[in-house]
Subunit: 172 residues, 2 copies
């Protein structure tokens, strides 16, 4: 099953983390591939790193928008490496993971760092007994069409819009 | 801060679980109060139970809709006990928890098992250094007004609507 968490609201990543915890609780093997998330930046990473049956990889830790010293070319190379990694595990370890989470891959598509076609082709090669969960705002129509379960996390109210900064423990 | 995860889509509970993991990763003390969730039913419970700094309580494990042998009166008593418990920890241990998660309390309000007024009054008494996250579809307007951060998890596509049953590891 292909699952998509999209939308402009809070909850895309935390719902993915919660899904990982639920799946691990069933004894599943889970692979998390994160984009644009510094390895030490997010609170959840300290807990996830210790959990059994979870393999955790991080690519393109610095997004050019936040780190102007990182070129778009560099970010694109790193995102393409992440997609190649996803392709490798689906080809070389088919069915090894019951859940693969592709964090912020939708952002990488939206910004043109990876090609939608290539991602869709790789998703086609995933065996039926592996679920793939993708996150990121602005999911393209073709991905929504291919997915089985899509949730839009829609912002109704957020303190950011009142100018409040991201809070440690809540947003990261 | 008061946070609300509502809407008809998947992700309200998993986002709450993910939020708990993030907060625990910051060394926060977290209290999870669940309604309508059998203690052994959800995959995540097996992992959550082992985590340090998380106190985990379950009330009204059987919802009358799923278990007709449970009367609405019984369910209402159990939900009111959960609300009383929440009130007790905010009064007797103010600031002890940095995050309190009230799972499905919005359902309990919607079904009249607990009174919205009483919940709102209890939320008013929560100290500023404690965040409260409430989940459940159909959040009432008064709660949204009081909350600082509200996300609607909106169903765009779900296999349930094609008649597929809930999948272990994904939905529970």
């Amino acid at each position: 099953m292909i699952i998509v968490n999209t939308g402009n609201g809070k909850g895309k990543t935390t719902a993915a983390i919660g899904q990982i915890i639920r799946s691990l609780g069933r004894g599943w093997k889970v692979c998390l591939v994160q984009l644009f998330k510094g390895k030490e930046f997010y609170g959840e990473q300290h807990i996830l790193r210790k959990l059994k049956n979870l393999d955790f990889y991080s690519f393109a830790p610095k997004h050019p928008f936040c780190f102007p010293e990182v070129s778009k070319k560099k970010a694109s190379e790193q995102c393409r490496a992440a997609l190649a990694f996803f392709r490798t595990i689906t080809e070389e370890k088919p069915g090894h993971y019951q859940l693969i989470v592709l964090e912020e891959f939708i952002i990488a598509i939206r910004e043109g760092y990876i090609a939608l076609d290539e991602l869709l082709k790789t998703l086609d090669a995933v065996p039926d007994n592996t679920h793939v969960l993708l996150t990121g705002r602005g999911a393209p129509r073709e991905l929504i069409r291919k997915a089985d379960l899509v949730t839009e996390m829609k912002e109704i109210k957020h303190p950011f819009s009142k100018g409040q900064r991201a809070q440690k423990g809540i947003e990261f």
